[in-house]
């Protein structure tokens, strides 16, 4: 029947347009990020943000994350294993995208922990993410509960409570919030590898994109 083919044809055209539009949009977004990153005041390069790895690394992952975000918690070990695998070649820059209620409080706590050293920061980050189900209930977040899991991290809790409102902490978070808008970050984790947005949103996609960047940067 001819009409069936008309409808099937129209369906294929519309789905085709959808897929074409999707690729076009991704390309546009990637171009926009590349352009912003090339500017002098690049929102993807903030030396005062937490950096994990050696500064000599030629591949940099920038992760905008929300301490209360489940997907960020899921991605965390995968990113850790990438850092482990390419020890001297990949650097991670952590940025805060505090979409959820209460996560700005936790970001402040983490930044206060960083003032006490990178080792304590990393332990606190692990503890906070591990305890996420405890404090980050979306309907009733209780960010103050993070203090209960920071005991074993070596953190000076008294000092951190004081310093979580330190101007350094607040300006760091303010910068991230502004950069997030510039980069059009709408979901977390938002990952950028050498100024390019992550193309395939999955741990495997991230590993593949990092691997190809490492190959390109270190080929000789």
């Amino acid at each position: 029947m001819k009409k069936v083919f008309i409808v099937i044809g129209a369906t294929l055209i519309m789905v085709g347009l959808f897929v074409f539009g999707m690729n076009w949009y991704k390309e546009q977004a990637a171009n926009a990020v590349r352009q912003i990153a090339a500017s002098n005041d690049s929102p993807l390069h903030r030396p005062d943000a937490p950096m994990i790895g050696t500064l000599m690394a030629k591949v940099e992952i920038v992760e905008f994350f929300d301490p209360a975000c489940e997907a960020c918690r899921e991605f965390h070990p995968h990113i850790q294993s990438i850092l482990e695998r390419y020890k001297s070649q990949v650097l991670l820059s952590l940025r805060y995208a505090t979409f959820h209620q209460g996560s700005d409080y936790v970001a402040q706590v983490l930044e206060a922990a960083r003032l006490q050293g990178m080792g304590i920061y990393l332990k606190s980050l692990e503890a906070v993410l591990a305890a996420q189900p405890l404090w980050a209930d979306h309907r009733r977040p209780q960010p103050e509960l993070v203090w209960t899991v920071l005991d074993n991290t070596g953190l000076d809790v008294e000092r951190a409570r004081r310093e979580m409102n330190d101007p350094r902490v607040l300006s760091r978070l303010k910068q991230d919030a502004a950069d997030m808008v510039k980069l059009n970050v709408r979901q977390t984790p938002a990952l950028f590898i050498n100024d390019q947005p992550l193309q395939d949103f999955s741990p495997e996609g991230l590993a593949a994109q990092v691997a190809s960047e490492v190959r390109a940067a270190y080929k000789q």
Binding site: K2, K3, V7, M14, F18, G21, R186
Partner: protein, 143 residues
Amino acid sequence: MTDATTSRPWNLLFACWLIAMAATLGSLFFSEVMQRTPCVLCWYQRIAMYPLAAIFTVGLFPLDVRCVRYALPIAVAGWLLALYHCLLYLGFIPENLQPCTQGLSCADVKIEVYGFVTIPLLSLAGFTSLIALLLAVQKGLKK
């Protein structure tokens, strides 16, 4: 289908199907590709639009003009929601009545504007043309 009396309603319903499909895929493009979180009102309009795509598909094969009976109330409901949404946008309804209060969507309200064409306006245009076409099918049958 060579008969003019059956091909006219079929063509009209086919146009309805095209609109419903375009609206469905378009709204999915906004939310899934462009990552604009749909607000509550957008969701209600989706609830009206998505089943229409299915109803028209079924109504086309074989041609069943009674599907107009089922599609029309849904389209009218969607149209009313779209109208309300547009009025909200244009400021005719005070902002404190705005039901978009969940999560991210509220803060992102402004991004829905592309020049003067907004998503609720597209929705209103879609539902309006659907209702017009459905009424045309019905009128053609009564003759």
